[in-house]
Symmetry: C2
Subunit: 122 residues, 2 copies
Amino acid sequence: MALRVRKSKVSEPPPVCPLTACMKLLGGAWTPNVVWYLRGEPRRFGELRGDIGRISAKVLSARLRQLQASGVVVRNAVAGSPPSFEYELSELGRELVPAIAAIVAVGEKLKRRAVTRPAKAR
Amino acid sequence: MALRVRKSKVSEPPPVCPLTACMKLLGGAWTPNVVWYLRGEPRRFGELRGDIGRISAKVLSARLRQLQASGVVVRNAVAGSPPSFEYELSELGRELVPAIAAIVAVGEKLKRRAVTRPAKAR
DNA sequence: CTGTATCCAAACCGATACTG
DNA sequence: CAGTATCGGTTTGGATACAG
């Protein structure tokens, strides 16, 4: 009667949710962007930088390395007069795309809302 | 001939992708977890802490406040002998759930892979 | 052009201690 | 129980300069 009985299961939440596992791959704030802009054809460093916008070279470099280390991104050397490299998603990386796409979808809806609704009554 | 012609469009990437907008809501490493465990019925502070696992009280408090500020989470007072509060997702917050669900789905697949495949040939 | 190195600010997290 | 304050450590990110 006095006891506050409250079911502990929302719908059977996993002990350590896989969320964390996946989020480790998408670490920083820029990581999803890198993967996102790599979802199409292979891109070079400078192109990627231009695509993403205002990411600093250092951060892009760091994220790229991190993503290589976790097996999400592959770096391929392109033989030519100006030796350059191309980055592309690995098979693992491609599996992340749908998740990011879902985030993008929400982001678009959010932006639309922001325009429709003035300011959310602060 | 010598010119390296390279199309700049992957599939028409938006100027400033909505990804960033959405990621701002999902800031820290714990934020998605908080939203995730709030996807069902309203939860109290301690319950949430137990659900998530090893999150410190300070961080949970900070995330909760941040999510309230961004309109993702609502805090409701529950009248009773022990005055307590319940947190639940707002309408906006519910829109984030599918995105997080997608991440969780990938995370599950990842875990399964990790078991199936030994070590990815390091 | 492709990256990396250095310096520096800000955000995030954990542990502990403390108030209502 | 619910939540905040403080201290310290680690990570992330930006700007700039610089090496291949």
